[in-house]
Amino acid sequence: MSLLAHLAPLRDTYQRLTAAGCDPFGIRFDNILSPTEGVLNGRRVLLFGTNNYLGLTFDPACIDAAHRALDGQGTGTTGSRIANGTYCGHGELEAKLAQFYGRRSGMVFTTGYQANLGMLSALVGPGDHIVIDADSHASIYDGVRLSRATVTRFRHNDAHDLARRLGRLPAGGNTLIVVEGIYSMLGDTAPLAEIVAVKRESGAYLLVDEAHSMGVLGERGRGLTEAAGVERDVDFIVGTFSKSLGAVGGFCVSDMADFELLRLASRPYMFTASLPPSVIASVTAALERVTAEPGLRTLLQDNARRLHGALVAAGFAVGPEATPIISIEVASPELAIAFWNRLVEEGIYINLALPPATPRGLALLRASVSAAHTVEQLDFILDALVAIAEELGVLTGKLRAVSG
């Protein structure tokens, strides 16, 4: 038997997925022109599937900082900080992140995925308990497995259900609750005030993953924790540099005593190379832009409300809140694939999200809005979505048969 025989069901799914035209999960851009435009198969396309919330990937200050670090310190660190030492830029960025959040300590990881792996695996261990939201990101699911604590899930965004499940945990050990600021599939936010109330009652610790909400929510861009006014009750904030900050990497900030010891306990921190100096430099510059330009957040929120509101008015089934993640529910994966292919034909790239990566088995067309999108670009995608939805019968409920 072939070693990869167990992947046969995946091959069948993949063949169905690609039969309609492009491969939605293997798309290859010829070039990227700006935060909102790229070239795909020789044609300009509008980018609505980037998570580039503040549009900082082409920010001149960020690019200039990266250039200087590249020229001055070379292409990479060639090792982990534990084994090969820390470049001063990494330490400075950690201090600036801690300052940005008003926390005592900060720690940088090489990706956002590793930030969750690194924190969750090191904060708790055998005999402890982790309770996670059922719609958590894959990095949370993988991180809690590495911890070897007992893991249970609570119903998505249901603080009452969280309380009930905390009450069922056997005595002994610490308990860590894990939620996200903005959930990546439907763009909905956690009911953080209610979750904090449950956390206080139970004596558990709370970690919030602000991957999609850092730089997006809160007066200073600190995320949902700031917007909900519960910063003092959140023990750990995890986030990423690959969305609002336009690069790659992850972090955690906290006021917890002995936080620095995690550097010697977190294997996903210890046993991987640290970020290249140029990435650290662009992220540091981007963090400064988040603070210096609150107008970017206003622009982003205006854009999100404009598209979300227009889609609701047009009769689309979208997520419950006007955050920069705007997902359209489509009746079946087949219809979602056909819709996605038509959008590419019209010069628009968005994300296709299918079960089991989605909640409740939903087939989703997922758009992420950027502060860099112009009103004309927002109107262009709206017009295309409406036209294709009418063509495929998405809005009428009379779904046209989609053939491969």
């Binding site: 059922a134 079960p355 088995g361």
Partner: protein, 87 residues
């Protein structure tokens, strides 16, 4: 003293049957992943089991579960632990 085994098995089988396309395929030795449940559906089944029996079912215990009967056996153990822990 164990929890009434047949009763737990029936209630577990019923929860599985509620979630699969063909109820009649749900037998004690049916493999859960072959009944048409993906990884998320299995975890949602665990949540339903937790609510039905008022227990915490840690996800790592799924490693012990291939068949409907395996699931019932883990649940029986968790219910027994809960009863034993009561004052």
């Amino acid at each position: 003293m164990g929890t009434e085994a047949a009763q737990v098995a029936d209630r577990v089988a019923s929860l599985v049957a509620d979630r699969v396309p063909l109820r009649e395929q749900v037998t004690a030795d049916a493999r859960i992943r072959e009944l048409g449940l993906d990884s998320v559906a299995v975890m949602d089944l665990v949540m339903a089991v937790e609510d039905e029996f008022d227990v915490a079912f840690p996800l790592d215990r799924l490693a012990e579960v291939e068949t409907v009967d395996d699931l019932a056996r883990v649940v029986r153990g968790l219910v027994d632990q809960r009863i034993a822990a009561q004052p």
